[in-house]
Amino acid sequence: KHDIPDLEELEKGPWPSFVADAKREALHRKKLPKDRMMIDQDVVDDLLGQLQLSFDDGETHWKHGGIVGVFGYGGGVIGRYSDVPEKYPSVAHFHTLRVNQPASKFYKTDFLRALCDLWEFRGSGMFNMHGSTGDIILLGTTTEQLEPLFYDLTHELDQDLGGSGSNLRTPSCCIGKARCEFACIDTQDLCYELTTHYQDELHRPAFPYKFKIKIDGCPNGCVASLARSDMALIGTWRDDIRIDQEAVQAYIRGEIQPNGGAHSGRDWGKFDIQKEVIDLCPTGCMVMEDGKLVINNQECNRCMHCINTMPRALRPGIDTGVSILFGAKAPILEGAQLAVLTVPFMKAEAPYDNIKELLEKVWDWWIEEGKNRERLGELIQRKGLPRFLEVIGVPAAPQMVKMPRTNPYIFWKEEDVPGGWKRDIKDYRLRHKR
């Protein structure tokens, strides 16, 4: 419909072209009977058109959102309007919906097809698979379609929306036990349980700002919880790494590819357990003794390197649980933060009451003390980790810091100090003349 030279340039090249895909959908919509579409037929064309205009102008053409949503929910919909609606009328309203993805994003095709049909019917037929938080993003529809969409989603697809706004956001997790030998915890189960248990927090904003939960099955961090979630739950273990000495030998002999073959695209030479594993262990806690690999588990910090490199020989321990870290976030406002290790170890077994109890204490404090638009991580920074530990009732441990404080500015409490803080200047002056 529109002249989109720059976009057509993006149809070239080997990587899947979103423009080519969009054009196909545009064509498909042209062929669809009108009664199979509740919003404009050429919504895809107009989106591409506006995108080209944005390239030309070097500026986006979307306006601020405004409050749209579905009844009783405070999130799940992002309002969006074009600032050039006269040129691209079918994207004049172009709201997105966030649909809560299933934990770790396995699908049956019947579900996906039903979703496609529904979204082509009541929306643009365009998706993000998936949004950065993890949701299925339905890209673009009008305000009128929001309620019907929600109705169809819940009634027909048995499927709810995800989060947006100042509330719990859609939790997400790595593939974990479903297909990963490293998973120390049941990531999907924990993710599902927290999601459903906290539906109210997810749908009805009651927080100072957004709150994200992500769950990694092990310290490899495949869902990036440490960087992207206010609460990061990361599987770990506190007993010993399991060793199959026979397999260690097989690696040494070159019978098994190191690191599951992850480096096989290049000739790195013969596998050298000393150089590639023992010397790279960050704690230096491994040695070969009498042809056996010995790990001093007391000194291991569970970085996963040796296990990643020799998955057939080494496995995480069996006394597993989670390390819990709080406060990761993007830069706005105080600068980006990585999550802070707060609970070095906690068991993680259904129904996860211990985790929920902790989380609720954290929320209580944040709701009480957090300023508007202050992420948990910023609150922790502002008040200090010691204060955070105090309110959530976790005792201080050296594990929580890279190093102890370097400044001597300790905020003592009155009860720490014998004799209390009340002193009389007159007593003092008896000893010390002015």
Binding site: D6, L7, E9, L10, E11, G13, P14, W15, P16, S17, D21, R24, H28, S54, F55, G58, E59, T60, I78, R80, T96, P102, A103, S104, F106, Y107, K108, T109, F111, L112, R113, G125, M126, F127, S132, G140, E147, T154, D160, R179, E181, Q188, Y192, T196, Q199, H203, P219, N220, C222, L226, N259, G260, H263, G265, R266, L280, A330, P331, E334, A336
Partner: protein
């Protein structure tokens, strides 16, 4: 009446119903995996079962037609199951190696008429996998650049790294179109970040468009203060020399637009990571403060990314992530080797800046 008979708070579908039988049966029982070739893995269970996974790149912007095509493939080879990874790749799983071959052939044969692959296979092991990215001009109101187009431009150039495993370690690239950083840009091996460079313009009608006190408190550096227009209405003043172009005021108040064709562009960050493997997770560092928004293919951005990866590929040690490599050789050598200029913009002057300053004589000439 859509608000009648409401069903709410039902959450997502339960994951178990979407697991293929082999996954259900072997849940928690996996013993090890092997990457048979780029993009193709086998996981072996203690039951003896195996699952073969074929991972395909995709642009995460995706239409119904595209998803239907994925479903067709999944129906044909995978009993109707498919999955998406945390980096927006598509994974098809089968239970025998024979099926892998057919699936693979099928996937690679699917191309758009313009020639691009629909389902390139790769993204595993020591290579470049799919780029995590954000909305950009496709849907957002605050971008300083576009995301989907930049990703396409970069991945076209890095295709060999996607379909190969020739790098010293994982290289994770992310794109975010503004400082809100909706991708995990702050901890990526390489990150591309849209940035503004001009202070916001104040709309004459700000008093009718938004809450002025909110706009004022939005600014983390206190650059916004109350003011009066010539005709006596309430407005705000911007201390321009204080502004650090974060865009938070615009997020809070539409009357303070900040985007600008000449001002906006792309910062390049490098050396972040998320995994706890060997070294601790760490932030990406800004290594190029600004490159132009040269739509649609961002040649300057693409060239910079490629240069870094090539030097890294040539110089780093096995298992060494970009950030670990840069730290080992020293950032001064990183700039030298990657032929990047170092400017004052790259020296931190925000809140925790002091900890990034060198407080020793240990440096290389």
């Amino acid at each position: 009446k859509p608000t009648e008979n409401r069903i709410t708070d039902i959450g997502p579908r339960h994951f178990w119903e979407f697991f293929p039988p082999v996954i259900q049966k072997n849940y928690g029982k996996w013993l090890y995996h092997d990457i048979l070739e780029p993009g193709i893995m086998v996981h072996v269970s203690e039951t003896g079962d195996k699952v073969f996974t074929v991972r395909c790149g995709g642009s995460r912007f995706m239409t119904a037609e595209n998803i239907r095509e994925i479903c067709d493939i999944a129906d044909k080879y995978c009993d109707g199951y498919v999955r998406f990874t945390t980096r927006n790749n598509i994974e098809f799983m089968v239970t025998s190696y024979e099926k892998v071959e057919a699936l693979k052939k099928d996937l690679l044969s699917r191309k758009y008429i313009s020639g691009s692959y629909k389902f390139p296979i790769g993204g595993t092991g020591a290579g470049v996998t799919n780029i995590v990215h954000t909305q950009g001009y496709i849907h957002c109101h605050t971008p300083a650049t576009d995301a989907s187009s930049m990703v396409k431009a970069i991945m076209d150039e890095l295709m060999d790294y996607f379909t190969g495993m020739t790098l010293p370690a994982h290289v994770r690239i992310s794109v975010a179109c503004c400082l809100n950083m909706c991708g995990a840009v702050h901890c990526s091996d390489i990150a591309l970040l849209g940035i503004h460079r001009k202070p916001p313009i104040v709309d004459d009608n700000i008093d009718s468009i938004c809450e002025i006190p909110l706009a004022i408190t939005a600014c983390p550096v206190g650059a916004i203060s109350p003011g009066k227009t010539e005709d006596g209405r309430k407005t705000v003043k911007i201390k321009e020399e204080r502004c650090m172009f974060c865009g938070n005021c615009y997020t809070m108040c539409p009357a303070l637009p900040i985007a600008d064709k000449l001002g906006d562009g792309v910062a390049v960050l490098a050396g972040g990571k998320i995994s706890n493997r060997i070294s601790e997770p760490k932030f990406s560092k800004v290594i190029v403060p600004w490159l132009p928004n040269n739509f649609p293919r961002f040649p300057e951005v693409v060239a910079t990314v490629k240069k870094i990866i090539e030097v890294y590929a040539a110089e780093a040690r096995k298992y060494e992530r970009i950030g670990d490599w840069a730290e080992r050789i020293g950032w001064e050598k990183f700039f030298e080797k990657c032929e990047l200029p170092f400017t004052e913009h790259l020296i931190d002057d925000y809140r925790l800046a002091y900890d990034t300053y060198r407080t020793s004589t240990q440096f290389k000439f």
